[in-house]
Symmetry: none
Subunit: 119 residues, 2 copies
C-alpha cells in the first residue's frame, strides 16, 4: 500500500515531503495540495528517476484500474506541475515520456533569466 510508511520524509531538490502529515514544503514554504495531487506527488517521488506508467500511477493513487480513455492522470499531472512551478519556477520535476508515462526528477528548467538577453 502507498500510505504504509507514515514516518518517513522524502526530499527532492528544494522539496520536502512528509507523507504522514500530508505536507509538502517548497524551499521551506508549505504548498496547498489536494488529496489527489498529494497522492500523485508521493507516488512519483517514491519512484523518482524511473518512468511510471499511467496505469501504475492510477492504481497507486486512485486505488483501482485505469479505465480506457480516462484522462484524470493527465489533468492532475498538469495541476501538480502548475503548483510546483509556481513555487519553484527554476526547476522542472515531472517529465513526460511519450508512450511510457511520467518520470520524476528535479532538473533545471529551461527558463531564460531575463537580464542579459542574448542575440
Amino acid at each position: 500500500m502507498e500510505a504504509a510508511q507514515t514516518d518517513d520524509v522524502l526530499y527532492a531538490g528544494e522539496l520536502e515531503i512528509r507523507p504522514g502529515d500530508g505536507l509538502v514544503l517548497a524551499a521551506g514554504r508549505a504548498l496547498t495540495l489536494s488529496v489527489r495531487e498529494f497522492g500523485l506527488l508521493v507516488a512519483l517521488v517514491r519512484r523518482a528517476g524511473r518512468i511510471v506508467s499511467r496505469g501504475e500511477l492510477y492504481t497507486l493513487v486512485w486505488g483501482s484500474e485505469l479505465r480506457d480513455g480516462d484522462r484524470s492522470i493527465d489533468v492532475y499531472v498538469h495541476k501538480l506541475r502548475a503548483k510546483l512551478e509556481a513555487a519553484l519556477p527554476a526547476w522542472a520535476f515531472i517529465h513526460t515520456h511519450v508512450g511510457f508515462g511520467y518520470r520524476f526528477a528535479p532538473e533545471p528548467s529551461h527558463v531564460f533569466h531575463n537580464s542579459t538577453t542574448p542575440r
Copy 2:
C-alpha cells in the same frame, strides 16, 4: 518476447538501459526515446557484438515481418544514432554492415578533439 525480462539492466559503455522502465541513461542523464527507438535499442543491445539483420530487428521490435521495400529500420537507426551521438559524441554505437545488417558495439568515434583541426 522482447519485453519478457523486466527487471534486468543492460550496460553498454556509458549507456544504462532499463528495459522494464523504458528508460535509458547516457552518462547518468535520461534520454528521451520514442517507443520504437527504445525497442530498437534494446533489441540491438541484447545482441551486442553480433550483426543483426533488418528482418530480425523488424520482427523483434515491430512484431511482424519486414515487407519488401520498407525502410523503417533505416530511418529509426538514423534517429537512434542521432540521439546517442547528441548524448555521447565521443562514441559510436551502431555500426552498418552493408548487405548484412547492423551491429551494436560501443567504439570510440573518429571525432577530432577541440578546435585545433589537425593536418
